[in-house]
């Protein structure tokens, strides 16, 4: 009986100690990890979209609550005006969710660029959505509103040959982004004033 008690006490004490330690460390490193993930996973897409901005878009970011979750917005300053933001949206691709960064100019509601951040598409086929600049380029300059569809579905987006599902996923992500943008625009414009 005594031995059993000892076992229980030692294991409980050890578990709670390690649990507490890890929880504390997690809290401590959470912000750093988030920054690192932004820098290395989403960073390349953000910097590509907001190329030539006068500020660091990853440092100048803010969050807006959308329902249960928070959405991050990355601010790009051009010609002294903070009118461009990039934010992430997702669509269902062939192998899973496709994360898509979309940059939009708040002044004229036009897309300044898109870039795939995370995906699990087939290498060499669906992955071209990320690597082929021609696919992303066709979104540039389009107004970020309404539905985006590939040509097969009666839309305007040229799908990547052999990767229709991936292209549709990207189109869905842009559509979602348009929805989010339309509903959040007043709040966005308000927040952007703080960066001038």
């Amino acid at each position: 009986m005594r031995e059993m008690l000892k076992m229980i006490i030692v294991l409980t004490a050890l578990c709670s100690f390690s649990g507490g330690l890890l929880a504390a460390l997690r809290n401590e490193t959470m912000e750093k990890i988030e920054n690192q993930q932004l820098e290395f996973v989403k960073g390349p897409a953000i910097r590509d979209i907001l190329k030539g901005s006068a500020n660091d878009p990853i440092a100048d970011r803010f969050k807006i609550k959308v329902g249960e979750t928070e959405k991050s917005f990355f601010v790009g300053k051009f010609d002294g005006k903070a009118e461009t933001v990039a934010f992430e949206s997702t669509g269902k691709g062939f192998g899973g969710d496709i994360g898509l960064m979309i940059g939009v100019n708040v002044a004229d509601d036009k897309i300044v660029g898109i870039g795939v951040t995370t995906h699990s598409e087939t290498p060499g086929i669906g992955s071209r959505a990320k690597t082929d600049p021609r696919f992303a380029a066709q979104f540039k300059g389009l107004p970020l509103t309404g539905d985006f569809k590939v040509k097969n579905d009666g839309g305007k987006v040229d799908a990547i040959s052999g990767a229709t599902v991936t292209s549709k996923g990207v189109a869905v992500a842009v559509t979602e982004a348009a929805k989010a943008y339309t509903s959040l625009k007043p709040e966005l414009a308000e927040k952007l004033k703080g960066f001038k």
Binding site: E3, V10, L11, L22, L25, T29, I33, Q36
Partner: protein
């Protein structure tokens, strides 16, 4: 017959060098030795875990009941591995992306658990520290040597720097999985040959 601390330390470097002599911890050995950078990263992680878990187990060895010792060891090892994982994510994110699943897998790696069971549970804090450090460094060294061979022949680089001229045709086989087995086998063979002579 207590061996000196120096002996406990140096045995990990040659006599009991983990992947070659004990043939332990092979899964990450084969997987992360594509490049020297990965190997060193993995080696440092293992050194930290091994030293930490050895010292903590040695400290607690009198109060850990022997019936639940393995469970206790696993908790200790897992805690240190998670610490490493979090720190890597926070400070060396690209390395974390490359090593990926092999960092959490240190938990089930035989080396930390094996050293806790075979050494730290029976010895004091200082010898356990020396043991952990020695074996950890031995492990890191083995990974680095293996990775150097594979990287130099497989991609013609060392720590990311070109070593051969542009006419070098990379020996792709070496950076693929079978290359790891062949390379490890050859090294084991060399180690045994030297060991037999000495």
């Amino acid at each position: 017959m207590a061996k000196s601390v120096t002996q406990e330390f140096t045995k990990g470097l040659w006599k009991e060098i983990p992947p070659f002599r004990l043939v332990l911890g092979l899964c990450p050995t084969l997987a992360v030795t594509k490049s020297v950078e990965n190997a060193i990263g993995m080696g440092v992680a293992v050194i930290f875990v091994l030293v930490g878990s050895n010292v903590l187990v040695a400290m607690l060895r009198k109060i850990i009941p022997s019936k639940v010792r393995i469970a206790c060891f696993i908790i200790v090892v897992a805690t240190f591995v998670t610490v490493v994982e979090l720190l890597m994510q926070a400070y060396t994110y690209p390395l974390f992306l490359k090593l990926g699943i092999f960092i959490p897998l240190i938990v089930v790696n035989c080396i930390p658990l094996g050293r806790a069971e075979a050494f730290a549970y029976k010895n004091g804090i200082i010898p356990s520290f020396a043991d952990g450090l020695g074996l950890g460094i031995g492990y890191a060294m083995s990974l680095t040597v293996l990775a150097a061979v594979r990287e130099i022949f497989g991609s013609g680089t060392f720590y990311g720097n070109q070593v051969f001229g542009p006419s070098f045709q990379p020996f792709n086989f070496m950076v693929e999985a079978p290359g790891a087995f062949v390379c490890l086998g050859l090294m084991l063979c060399v180690m045994n040959f030297i060991g037999k002579k000495g």
